[in-house]
């Protein structure tokens, strides 16, 4: 008898469940990539209230891709696994580019965005600045960030 898989219809919830199962591996992966990109050690990770207030670079229950906390501390979260993270807020070009983007480039894009948001304290400014960040992110991540920054043109037509 085949066992029916319990897969949530909501991609955000699916991503969160997957992230909870694999949180330890993702914690190591996120922490390593933050270091490789040159994020200072004291800005890697933030308190995760969902898991005993541990300090973590990956917060599996959060769904936004990443976040920034006091002290410019950066964490990634389950949103990096969500293929629909940018839908329906952004146009199809940026949303589908994100959908096709491999995980490591999604992580780079999120890290650059949160890093720039930590510097300016402003989301909109970070959208613009991240596309030309000094962090050594991958070219595909940079193209993703350029598409996000350019999305306003698509909407304003």
């Amino acid at each position: 008898m085949k066992r029916k898989l319990d897969v949530p219809e909501d991609p955000a919830e699916h991503a969160a469940r997957f992230s909870i199962d694999w949180r330890d591996r993702m914690e190591a992966h996120a922490r390593r990539r933050l270091r490789e990109l040159g994020i200072p050690e004291d800005q890697i990770g933030a308190l995760d209230e969902s898991f005993g207030h541990r300090e973590a670079a990956f917060h599996p229950r959060e769904e936004t891709g990443g976040g920034i906390s006091p002290g410019r501390r950066i964490n990634l979260n389950s949103g990096v696994f969500n293929p629909d993270l940018l839908r329906p807020m952004l146009g199809e070009e940026a949303a589908s580019m994100w959908e096709r983007l491999p995980l490591r480039h999604r992580m780079d894009a999120v890290i650059a965005h949160e890093y720039e948001e930590g510097k300016s304290g402003d989301h909109e400014r970070a959208v613009i600045d991240a596309a030309s960040t000094e962090l050594p992110i991958s070219e595909r991540a940079r193209e993703m960030l350029q598409a996000i920054a350019g999305d306003v043109k698509e909407r304003s037509r």
Partner: protein
């Protein structure tokens, strides 16, 4: 990367680590959603196309992605705050959101036309 608006009654301190002190008044939440929200194919409420998630006594909806702001979500947050006194927070970015930062939709129609 994206920002969410979370509305609820929280314990004092950093919104990222705060606990829910008491649940939102769902009668008010549901009435405001009837006024402001559209529905997706599954009949769930959406604001500017973004699903409204009601869980753990709070309401959560996508607010910012790229340079786009969800004004319908702002309107919902403003009205919910005015009627219930709840807090508006961006939990993932450890921020309390002052209602003065939100514009809402003003006199513009929302609901079905707001998708």
């Amino acid at each position: 990367m994206i920002h969410l608006l979370t509305m609820g009654h929280f314990t004092p301190g950093n919104p990222k680590t705060a606990a829910v002190e008491k649940p939102l008044d769902m009668d008010v939440v549901n009435r405001l959603l009837t006024e402001l929200a559209a529905e997706d194919a599954a009949g769930k409420p959406t604001l500017d196309g973004a699903p409204v998630k009601l869980k753990g006594g709070v309401a959560v909806v996508a607010w910012k992605a790229g340079l786009h702001r969800n004004r319908a979500a702002e309107e919902f947050a403003l009205r919910l705050q005015a009627e219930t006194g709840c807090a508006i927070v961006d939990r993932e970015h450890s921020q309390m959101i002052d209602p003065g930062r939100l514009e809402g939709v003003g006199d513009h129609a929302v609901g079905r036309s707001g998708g």
